[in-house]
């Protein structure tokens, strides 16, 4: 039971919106939090998932135009993630 719980909790949920979602072709994924033991950040996920416009092989800087939310609150892209976190990548906001 305990190991099953920690396996569930050691995932993060990734969400994409609007143009970003359409470019990637998906809106939501669950990923393991730390395969190599290092604390994972949203910027790491961005590269791993090849969400940038640069070809997947090339390491691209995290773009200044994209904002990150962790558990519904804005957060820096280099925030270490915790098990169970929901990470969202938000293209430029155009509401109102």
């Amino acid at each position: 039971m305990a190991s099953q719980q920690s396996a569930v909790a050691a995932m993060v949920r990734v969400r994409l919106f609007a143009a970003l979602r359409e470019r990637a072709g998906w809106s939501e994924r669950s990923l393991p939090l730390a395969a190599d033991g290092c604390p994972l950040t949203p910027a790491d996920l961005w590269r791993q998932l090849a969400l940038g416009e640069a070809p997947p092989g090339q390491a691209a800087e995290f773009p200044a135009t994209i904002r990150v939310a962790i558990n519904h609150a804005f957060a820096p892209a280099d925030t270490p993630l915790n098990p169970g976190d929901e990470v969202a990548f938000l293209p430029p906001i155009t509401g109102g």
């Binding site: 969400r15 919106f17 609007a18 143009a19 359409e22 939310a69 519904h72 609150a73 804005f74 969202a88 938000l90 293209p91 430029p92 906001i93 155009t94 509401g95 109102g96």
Partner: protein, 157 residues
């Protein structure tokens, strides 16, 4: 009415997926803010934003699609409303935002602020509007000629 500036402001935030009538929502909001007519706030500012009939590039607009991040959009609107209300010392704030498919002429956003003075009421409306346009997770897509285009940025002030 001094109570309005010293007590906790009344905040109401709504995200609606169907058309709404701004004046009907304002009427309901006003009737909640004052138990008796004499309790009515001395100053009230409103803003209504509606869908334009044409796209950013001037083509006829069929509809505007508004996507949000459910859960975060409510939380952010609430946080923005609370921060603006606190900064300006106002008594009550109403924020209504449409999502989904919105037709030309339909309301997208309604902001209302009740306060004891005209300055805080009007400044709070303007600031709230800027804040939500830049910091609440909503995205617009313009539909024209059967083709959808994500809007790249907000319209200028």
């Amino acid at each position: 009415m001094d109570a309005a500036t010293t007590s906790r402001p009344r905040l109401e935030v709504r995200i609606l997926s169907r058309p709404f009538q701004p004046l009907a929502l304002l009427e309901a909001w006003q009737s909640q803010s004052a138990a008796t007519a004499a309790d009515s706030p001395a100053a009230e500012g409103h803003f209504i934003g509606r869908v334009r009939g044409s796209t950013a590039s001037g083509a006829p607009l069929e509809a505007l699609e508004l996507e949000d991040y459910p859960g975060m959009s409510e939380t952010q609107l609430q946080a923005i409303a609370a921060a603006c209300a606190g900064r300006h010392g106002v008594g009550a704030v109403l924020v209504v935002h449409r999502v989904g498919r919105i037709l030309p002429g339909e309301a997208i956003v309604l902001v209302a602020v009740a306060a004891d003075r005209r300055g805080p009421a009007l400044r709070c409306v303007a600031e709230l509007l800027e804040e939500l346009k830049h910091h609440a997770p909503f995205w617009k897509r313009e539909w024209s000629g059967g083709h959808g285009t994500w809007v790249a940025g907000n319209t200028p002030l």
